[in-house]
């Protein structure tokens, strides 16, 4: 090969390598974006397959109290009366009020939960422990911070307290899994107290403290939810 051409070829190769190196960060960003998009699409598809909490036209209209954020008082919740057709079955009822909570108030500023989050499942155990399984968006789309995560959990527990007296305490799962925190701050290893007294008016003990092992029936139920979500 002519030496002159060899120099040219070397130069072109060098330019290509430099261009590739400069393009690398942008390429990496694009790959990450595409990955996020694929994950979101899969989650949305799964949610579309899930049965929405049935709202029977035969259910009586009931005035329910929803707890959304207060616009006047930063970091506080405000009860809002909403009229809904509500089932008498506590599990359906819990699903209906939590879906209404997720749908959000008229004023989007008062939201406590991200609009794209979904309730995947809800169970009530014999001892009054509710298990709420939310989609990943409750973790990924919530505004990060102690205050916002605390408000999110409180809005769920207080809405259940006001409308589903059968739920005494609550375990929150994310995508069928136990999570350490909601979005890096609030501890989800614990059971949150929902009602301080049971139907007979008996004062309840503290729910299991954070970090402690869950009682056997709850562990079993969590395992069932995890398996169901995997399927």
């Amino acid at each position: 090969m002519n030496p002159k051409w060899t120099v040219w070829l070397g130069g072109v190769l060098l330019a290509a390598v430099i261009a590739a190196a400069l393009y690398f960060p942008a390429l990496r960003r694009q790959v990450n974006k595409a990955k996020d998009l694929t994950e979101k699409t899969a989650e949305q598809a799964r949610r579309e397959l899930l049965p929405v909490a049935p709202v029977s036209t035969g259910d009586p209209m009931v005035k329910v109290k929803m707890f959304w954020g207060s616009r006047r008082q930063e970091g506080e919740l405000l009860p809002v009366d909403v009229e809904l057709p509500l089932s008498r079955d506590p599990v359906l009822r819990a699903k209906q009020v939590l879906n209404t909570l997720l749908a959000g108030p008229v004023d989007a500023e008062s939201r406590t939960l991200p609009p794209d989050a979904a309730l995947l499942a809800f169970y009530i155990l014999h001892d009054g422990t509710g298990i709420a399984d939310f989609s990943d968006e409750i973790r990924t789309s919530i505004p990060s911070g102690i205050q916002s995560e605390q408000l999110a959990v409180e809005s769920i527990t207080r809405t259940l307290e006001a409308n589903v007296p059968q739920v005494l305490r609550l375990k929150i799962l994310i995508h069928g899994q136990e999570a350490d925190t909601l979005a890096g701050h609030v501890d989800l290893t614990q059971l949150f107290r929902v009602n301080a007294t049971d139907a007979a008016g008996t004062q309840l003990d503290n729910p299991s403290p954070p970090g402690s092992k869950l009682p056997a029936p709850i562990r079993k139920a969590v395992e069932t939810v995890r398996k169901a979500t995997k399927r």
Binding site: P3, T6, V7, L9, G10, G11, L13, L14, V17, I18, A20, A21, L22, F24, P25, R28, R29, N32, E74, G75, P143, S144, G145, I146, Q147, S148, E149, Q150, D180, T181, G184, H185, V186, D187, T189, Q190, N206, P209, P210, G211, S212
Partner: protein, 276 residues
């Protein structure tokens, strides 16, 4: 020697070949530098140094060193690939909170405290690793620092753990998962003092401390609080930067006030009590 090296790389020992080889080597070096520069930025942003204006946080006179509380473990939250809250102008919580922690460290050292940071760069120790830094010390307090993505801009809140029942203890050891339980009343006292200083300095901040089950506090066997500043959603980064000296000074003042009331709590065990 050069000839042998040339054979080894499969090139003839002509000047042109050596020029190509040199060009390829330069390209490889440029490529490596570009990748080394790009990857850490993608992984978690860069650590910008604190502005010079923020480097003189402690402005009140230092006090004599006391026995008992001497060590403060400061925990700038998040880091590494976990950037925490993200706001305008590319503000990320993990970078900003490091500035707050660095200024607070200086303010505390001026008061005679020994300060340990759970991270000084863009790494992300686990919750337990961060707690372990405080749990390994005697006479320490722990402060985890956060910047929220919500809340009234220019305010700061202090959080402590809600009431956690103490575990039945027959060994005198503190269960890791409930390490905070014996220290809750001290945490509250410290939190109140820091919150009072913050609310004096930052209008709109609550007068009283808040309770929240903050994961980082649960495994900390020392008086522990979380300080959350609002917010990354400021219009300009300078709004947050202006808060740095005030937050640092308020925390230092609060701890100076708290220092006399610091007593290492005892854990009740059958047949006597044990100090943690």
């Amino acid at each position: 020697m050069a000839f042998r090296f040339g054979i080894l790389l499969g090139v003839r020992s002509s000047p042109t070949s050596w020029r190509i080889l040199a060009g390829a080597l330069v390209a490889a070096v440029v490529c490596s530098v570009a990748i080394a520069w790009a990857v850490p930025r993608q992984a978690g942003g860069t650590n910008s140094p604190a502005p010079k204006a923020l480097q003189s946080a402690a402005i009140f006179p230092p006090q004599a060193q006391h026995s008992g509380l001497n060590i403060v473990v400061l925990d700038p939250a998040h880091g590494g690939t976990d950037q925490g809250a993200r706001g305008t102008e590319g503000i990320s919580e993990s970078d900003e909170v490091l500035q707050f922690a660095t200024a607070t460290k200086r303010a505390l050292e001026a008061q005679g405290f020994q300060v340990i940071l759970t991270r000084e760069g863009n790494d992300n120790p686990s919750f337990d690793d961060r707690s372990a830094r405080a749990n390994a010390q005697r006479g320490a307090v722990f402060i985890t620092m956060h910047i929220a993505s919500t809340g009234l801009t220019g305010t700061a809140r202090v959080y402590v753990e809600p009431e956690v029942p103490q575990a039945n203890n027959i060994t005198g050891l503190i269960p890791w998962d409930r390490a905070q339980a014996p220290f809750l009343s001290l945490s509250r006292k410290m939190g109140e003092m820091v919150q009072q200083e913050l609310s004096k300095r930052f209008k709109g901040s609550p007068d009283t401390l808040q309770t929240a089950p903050v994961r980082q506090l649960r495994t900390t066997a020392a008086p522990a609080i979380a300080v959350e500043i609002s917010s990354v959603s400021v219009k300009e980064r300078s709004e947050l930067d202006r808060m740095v000296p005030g937050v640092a000074e308020s925390i230092a003042r609060g701890l100076v006030e708290f220092r006399p009331s610091y007593v290492v709590p005892t854990i009740p065990v059958p047949g006597g009590s044990v100090q943690p």
